[in-house]
Amino acid sequence: MAVMTYRAALNEALREEMQRDPDVFLMGEEVAEYDGAYKVSKGLLYEFGDKRVVDSPISELGFTGLCVGASMAGLRPVVEFMTFNFAFLAIDQVINNAAKMYYMSDGQFPMPIVFRGPTGAALQLAAQHSQACETYYSHAPGCKVVTPATPADAKGLLKASIRDNDPVAFMEGELLYNVKGEVPEDDDYVIPLGVADLKNEGSDVSIITHGKMVHVALQAAAKLDKNNISADVLDLRTIRPLDMDAILETVKKTNRVVYLEEGWPYAGTGAQIVSMIQEEAFDYLDAPILRVTQADIPMPYAKSLELLAKPSADRVVEACNKVLYR
């Protein structure tokens, strides 16, 4: 095991996959000469040259569409969005072209392509730069969605995403890039898509979550533990494919569930999962499932307000107490 940052783990995954497959290339704003807006692509230009590490103009729709076309013609592009906030300009290419092409063409054109970059709020960036975007992508059949929370998951899941034959929205966290963790040194460390990970084991309540919120859930679990409540923290890791077996397992174990996510509540990932749990494990529930989400407002700038709007460990603890009727 090596200890490295989430950023370095992503960098390693990109480097190894580009070494492994000459059809893989990286395109995006500032990925080459600037070494990446968040330095995820640091050093890759030097190693692979400007044919495979390509600075694009600020044309999200355009370079996304270009990469979708390159994928259609047989390459395996990795598109870097400086953040997913800017990917709204390109979502027509992701949904209407990348996600639907295989079906519309009756299987003639597989679309291996990864759209990656940070999603969710950082610190005081206000509404246009602070939003969790995963449900826009998980809504559409044909698009897989991956949300790694730790350096090891970032590496193993990015490698799996690049090797997958479908479009993958790979959503990182701006505040995760400096998080350190142990990463297996195996240069073929791949985590299959669709496998959730129990990040904390408990028996009283299940906190199910994904992405950056895994860390908030773990803080909440630590707080609960001081009151002798033990929580399962289930990290979905991938939203689509979704590890429903793992979800049902924790539900059947604790019978009480809180879903935690960074995005808005309306038609959020939690809404989908609550629906599936009530459908498939209704008799195992001892309390209604609660959700903890961002406040249902555009993100405010003021630090005091931003703190109120974001999901917090305290709000998760509160929700856990409610489902435990404490």
């Binding site: 694009s56 103009p57 209407n96 044909g142």
Partner: protein, 355 residues
């Protein structure tokens, strides 16, 4: 179609072929292609009228010269990307008329297995890359296919078609900018029929069509798409240039549609007068223009022309019969090809029905 004229405006028809460097055989071939496209689209219209073809259906009648002349110079390993008025372009690139008609019918033997319909015809083997329904969104795609050609140091080229309305989309401008910067082997072709649906181009653009690519450093040229020989010669030269490494090109391929925007629209009406359509049909039918040239030049006689027309009608009829006989897609295939890779773990389908 207008009756045969004995006189044509040009002095010597043999000279026209010579001027464009087109052999008699090739000219007759282009005639045959255009007749097939006309008769095929007429069959598509009939099938639509009796409910065999559903959804949106945009026919190419009047624009056959644009398809025949521009695709003829391509090799099998060149790529074509189009928008949603693409039946004849698919046939021109080698997709079998039966597969195109069966797709219109939504049948299992259709080019896209009945998943795409009129607007989404694909054939990977022919490198016919769709059939796209969002105005302008196919333009970056084609640019990416050209990127792949350059990436692999191949010598194919890409032609991408769009309607005149597409040049007002951001996708168009972003794509041309990148193609110019990276010198990609792609020809952007506006099939300029003067109207984006019911909106005359002059009402939505202050500048001329040929001015659109210029700010991006992409050279523009203009050609009369109703003159298939001129169109062919223009594209033959342009394809050679682009294959030789000239970088991207833009063509204002001027044409005219003799029908409504789609099958559900009137041919003329509030946005263009009936007299305009009638005048263009009389003067600018690409089939009549070439026929008269070939008859006057002696490369074709009336009997030969009629025989070719009968053959075209037969191919269109055969395509219709094929489509009619083809089964509807099996219900068990509803979920097929949603995903290229069904992961071993986790769920990919969420509708509660078994994928």
């Amino acid at each position: 179609m207008a009756p045969t004229k004995t006189k044509n405006k040009k002095a010597s028809k043999k000279d026209v072929l010579a001027e464009y460097g087109v052999s008699a055989e090739l000219a007759v071939d282009l005639m045959r292609d255009m007749l097939l496209y006309r008769r095929f689209e007429e069959k598509a219209e009939e099938a639509y009228a009796i409910g065999r073809v559903g959804g949106f259906c945009h026919v190419h009648i009047g624009q056959e010269g644009a398809a025949a002349g521009s695709i003829k110079p391509l090799r099998n390993d060149d790529y074509v990307v189009s928008a949603y008025r693409e039946h004849t372009q698919a046939i021109a690139k080698g997709v079998h008329p039966n597969a195109v008609m069966a797709e219109l019918f939504g049948r299992a033997d259709g080019a896209s297995g009945g998943r795409g319909g009129s607007m989404h015809i694909y054939d990977a083997a022919c490198r016919f890359m769709g059939g796209h329904g969002i105005v302008g969104a196919q333009v970056p795609l084609a640019t990416g296919i050209a990127w792949k050609i350059k990436y692999g140091a191949e010598d194919s080229v890409v032609i991408v078609y769009m309607g005149d309305a597409a040049v007002n989309q951001g996708a168009f401008h972003e794509a041309l900018n990148m193609a110019a910067v990276w010198e990609l082997p792609v020809i952007y072709v506006v099939e300029n029929n003067g109207y984006g649906m019911g909106t005359a181009f002059s009402r939505v653009s202050k500048t001329d069509m040929a001015a659109k690519p210029v700010p991006h450093g992409v050279p523009a040229s203009v050609v009369d798409g109703q003159d298939v020989l001129a169109t062919y010669a223009h594209f033959r030269d342009l394809v050679a240039e682009v294959r030789g490494g000239s970088g991207p090109q833009f063509v204002d391929l001027q044409t005219y549609r003799f029908r409504g925007h789609s099958m559900s629209d009137a041919v003329s009406g509030t946005y263009r007068p009936t007299e305009e359509v009638e005048r263009r049909k009389e003067k600018d039918d690409p089939i009549v223009v070439l026929r008269d040239e070939l008859l006057a030049g002696g490369q074709l006689d009336q009997v030969g022309f009629e025989r070719m027309d009968d053959e075209a009608r037969q191919i269109a009829q055969d395509a219709t019969d094929f489509a009619e006989a083809s089964p509807v897609p099996d219900a068990s295939t509803l979920y097929d090809n949603t995903w290229a890779e069904i992961n071993e773990n986790g769920r990919l389908f969420f509708d509660g029905r078994d994928g």
